[in-house]
Symmetry: C2
């Protein structure tokens, strides 16, 4: 699942240099990509080259692109997946969010600048040495359908459990915190089940997902009844795990019912 680009290709910079000329100045995009794996909630993070500092996937806004469109492109580059569900949730603009906001960010900044080709340093300074406003998106993806791919500034792209977040650049920790709050408070209106789970999933998977987002345990019997009453699931064959017990059924989302449900709120909290 982990790919490394330890040798940076020169062409990366040339294409970036060309792209930079078309970017809207002062604006960046950051994506908090949620995935569900091993019974817990994960976020997609990039490990900055030669450091132990991590960052959210992000990028700049081309002058002729819509924000959502570009966030989608960034995610496609980082995951290989198209048509990822995403929604804007906040714009971070604090004067204190720059590269000199803490030693970690400053270190990463110096590193990035040192890697940067000499002839393009003016561009670097133009872009990274000014105030940045960042519009942040929440994305929900099926972790199984995704191939995390680092960008030119990172050496790894990994799913990290939200309970074990590493040190992060800039205000990315704040952004993630706000995204988690957004996920929790908007759980009734977001296509949690549809986007975060595999095509087919067990009832327990759905329940544990809700538990992970809400941060509390739910009663199995009551959860089962509530979900079934919503009529949003289609039941399929069983999942044979090899364990010596009755195999759990697999379910999938009935999109027609589900899409209607989350418009008015699924009514779970």
């Amino acid at each position: 699942m982990l790919k490394r680009h330890n040798k940076m290709k020169e062409t990366d910079f040339y294409s970036l240099e060309n792209k930079i000329k078309t970017f809207v100045p002062g604006i960046s995009l950051d994506c908090v990509v949620f995935g569900y794996q091993d019974r817990s909630l994960h976020i997609l993070l990039l490990k900055c080259r030669n450091t132990d500092v991590w960052a959210l996937p992000g990028g700049f806004l081309p002058a002729n692109s819509e924000m959502e469109e570009e966030a989608c492109n960034i995610l496609e580059e980082r995951t290989g997946a198209k048509n990822i569900y995403l929604t804007q949730f906040y714009t971070f603009s604090s004067l204190k969010r720059g590269w000199n906001c803490n030693e970690l960010s400053a270190k990463t900044f110096r590193l990035a600048r040192s890697i940067w080709p000499k002839e393009f340093l003016p561009t670097f300074d133009l872009w990274f040495n000014q105030r940045f406003i960042s519009t942040a998106f929440v994305a929900l993806v099926d972790a199984k359908k995704v191939t995390p791919t680092p960008d030119f500034i990172s050496e790894a792209c990994l799913w990290v459990p939200v309970k074990e977040l590493p040190q992060l650049i800039l205000d990315h920790g704040v952004i993630i915190k706000k995204a988690l709050e957004y996920l929790r408070t908007r759980i009734n209106y977001l296509p949690i089940g549809k986007e975060l789970l595999d095509e087919k999933f067990t009832m327990i998977d759905l329940q544990v997902l809700y538990e992970a987002i809400l941060g509390k345990q739910l009663d199995r019997g009551n959860f089962y009844r509530k979900i079934m009453k919503l009529n949003m699931l289609k039941r399929h064959e069983k999942l044979m795990t090899g364990a010596q017990n009755k195999a759990p059924y697999l379910y999938s989302i009935d999109n027609k019912v589900y899409d209607q449900l989350i418009i008015n709120g699924i009514g779970f909290i």
Copy 2:
């Protein structure tokens, strides 16, 4: 309540010209200011000079200001009130939201350009002829404590009922729609009662306010019981209206209880 600045002062332009040089390019702020008056929800709107087109109060972002801080300043200029409650709710960035998005906006644009002093036209074009990203805020104010004041591009600043919105420039109609949705879906977490009502108010006023935001009627008895159980109100003397009936009590918010309540959601929907 209505003030007119039909003659624009030349100094307005000079100070604007100076300010413009310090603005972050490409970013603007818009405020959807909610007020409660005559038993219905209102929004503060500016009537553009010599036209029947209206706009939200807004402005640009000085390079050394926080967004919230500047939104606060804009509101102080439009209302005379300090320390207005506001919260960011969305950033609008569509490529289609420019001055040429519809005939109304184009007309307003031409008007603004014609009023603009000739010697500053380059600045005008630099600022108004490019793509704009606008971060929008919801503000809640006590309409009684406010003196609506037009800016240099408008001839009036008025409270307009949300049920009777006029024609608006750019995508301001979309912004208002989104703000109303935000208000409705976050009603449990916003200091509705505290910020929108007068210091002292009657129970019916509080109820009608909730009804206006939720867009549906509530049962008086049940509403009364629910509110009283929350322990968030202090009862005061009666409001003598002169009508031949028992005068209603006045209430005020118990801030200590209320602030705690809206953290976890007041539980009204």
